[in-house]
């Protein structure tokens, strides 16, 4: 594949990552979790808070940039932006940070996130406070379409009816993801599960069973983006951004009105990100794919070109997504088992894999990793990351 003319290819690096513990019932506020993860990421890079001159807080959970000025005593914040794309916000923030670094607007951009949902409203209440869900709130909530599980289930059902995709194939994703969470250690759900466990878990919104659904959990995650030139002088092996793009599905605010229910925004982003990277699905050593629901992983695999539309069910069978399989996926346990950190944990894990510091879940010699985002009603993002050289 050829690279697009003007691009962010190798123009930015992820130089620091940080996470808190993922848990339920955290006593820390969302802002406290964001600051803890941010300090870890900044020090991981070998930087001090005062080195940060850009902040892109992630999504609905992010405190405004001003909170970071206040808490870190920043005197010269030169770049900030808002990326309101739900679970695609982490990739969107990485794109914004990379663009700012590449343009010379900022030297070191912090992307923080953190949430405490144990003490607040659940997803079925939260989403109706968001402008992105305005149409759902007005036209669909009165009928009883309230939570993401109910809004997304018709996408999965349509896929099953058109292509013969099965709930047992969704289960393959839940099982391998849980296995990886157990190997990672910092995860909410670590007890191994089987396909039969999945099949006997209760129905939430048919075809989604309990074990198709991601967790409601607390925690913080953050990363720091700098130029590749500056990255060489920092503390960690550099991880380069090879390609990145965001994409929005048709009818982005209503799944009901979407022409093709089986496609999401990453279908538009992926060709651009692959082209920018000069890489494709066959080059990927490890994949961290946004997994708010099992089906959403399967759908993105198709939309990114790992297999054709309709073949995702067969693609995920036979342990392909397990460590040791052809495409180790969500090696941290994802949103399904590690914790729902809006996909920021996917970016952190991709960086650790490329540094070779992913512990028991390390993919030997990983050189190319992807992280994806999926937000709100299907906004999508794909980042292709590569192991840089000193």
């Amino acid at each position: 594949m050829t690279r697009d003319g003007v691009s962010l290819h190798d123009r930015a690096a992820v130089v620091g990552v940080g996470e808190t513990s993922y848990l339920r019932g955290s006593k820390d506020s969302a802002l406290a979790l964001q600051l803890q993860a941010s300090l870890t990421a900044i020090r991981d890079a070998g930087l001090e808070p005062g080195d940060i001159d850009g902040v892109v807080p992630v999504g609905i959970t992010g405190a405004p940039a001003e909170e970071y000025i206040a808490n870190f005593g920043l005197v010269d914040l030169r770049f900030s932006a808002v990326v309101p794309h739900g679970g695609a916000s982490g990739i969107g923030a990485l794109q914004a940070a990379a663009a700012a670094v590449n343009a010379g607007i900022a030297k070191h951009v912090l992307v923080p996130s953190g949430r405490n949902v144990s003490s607040g409203d659940k997803a079925g209440v939260r989403i109706h406070q968001m402008p992105q869900f305005r149409l759902v709130t007005e036209f669909e909530k009165p009928a009883g379409a309230i939570a993401p599980a109910q809004l997304y289930a018709p996408m999965a059902r349509r896929h099953m009816e058109l292509y013969g995709t099965t709930s047992r194939q969704f289960a393959e994703i839940a099982v391998s993801t849980r296995e990886h969470a157990g190997m990672h250690g910092n995860a909410v759900m670590t007890k191994p599960i089987t396909i039969d466990d999945h099949q006997s878990s209760r129905l939430i919104a048919d075809p989604f069973r309990l074990l198709d659904c991601s967790l409601e959990s607390d925690g913080g995650a953050a990363f720091v983006v700098s130029s590749p030139e500056r990255a060489r002088d920092l503390a960690q092996p550099p991880v380069h951004l090879a390609g990145i793009a965001m994409g929005h599905p048709d009818s982005p605010s209503s799944i009901t009105q979407r022409p093709d229910l089986t496609k999401v925004g990453i279908a538009k982003a992926a060709p651009i990100a692959w082209g920018m990277a000069g890489l494709g699905p066959d080059d990927v050593d490890v994949a961290e794919i946004y997994d708010c629901f099992t089906y959403v992983v399967l759908c993105q695999l198709e939309d990114m070109g790992f297999c054709a539309k309709g073949e995702g069910g067969a693609f995920v069978e036979g342990g392909r997504l397990r460590l040791g399989g052809a495409l180790p996926t969500n090696t941290h346990g994802g949103l399904l088992s590690q914790g729902h950190m809006l996909g920021m944990n996917h970016i952190v894990e991709a960086v650790r894999q490329l540094r070779g510091t992913a512990g028991r879940a390390q993919v030997d010699g990983a050189q190319v990793a992807i992280a994806t985002g999926y937000g709100d009603m299907g906004d999508g993002g794909l980042a292709v990351l590569t192991r840089g050289s000193r």
Partner: protein, 125 residues
Amino acid sequence: MTDDLSTGYWDGARRGVLVLQRCTACGHVRHYPTLLCPACHSDTVEPLEASGRGTVHSWTVAHHAFDPAFAGELPYTLVTIDVEEGPRVLARLEPDPADLRIDQPVTIGFAPGAGGTPVPLARPA
């Protein structure tokens, strides 16, 4: 340009009729309501009463109440319907058929939902 985008829909819903938007410039029929026609960008629009005929595009059966107001109604079926005029509507389906299938014909009306708001209600045709 008016921001009262939904008035036509809700007036129709209270009468039991699905009302969509039709662009008076190019004839494009749309739902949910928008200020501008996505096809020609005109802001002139008229209400269009739908025939009430449609076919099943997809569905889900809710088994968990994410809002206590719906706990007493479980399980219930939400069906995504291709409306004859072009757009789609998300409706409750009654009675719950044993074997729902894509392209199955349905008729669309309205019935009071939880809290009294009129909710699209589909029945197998």
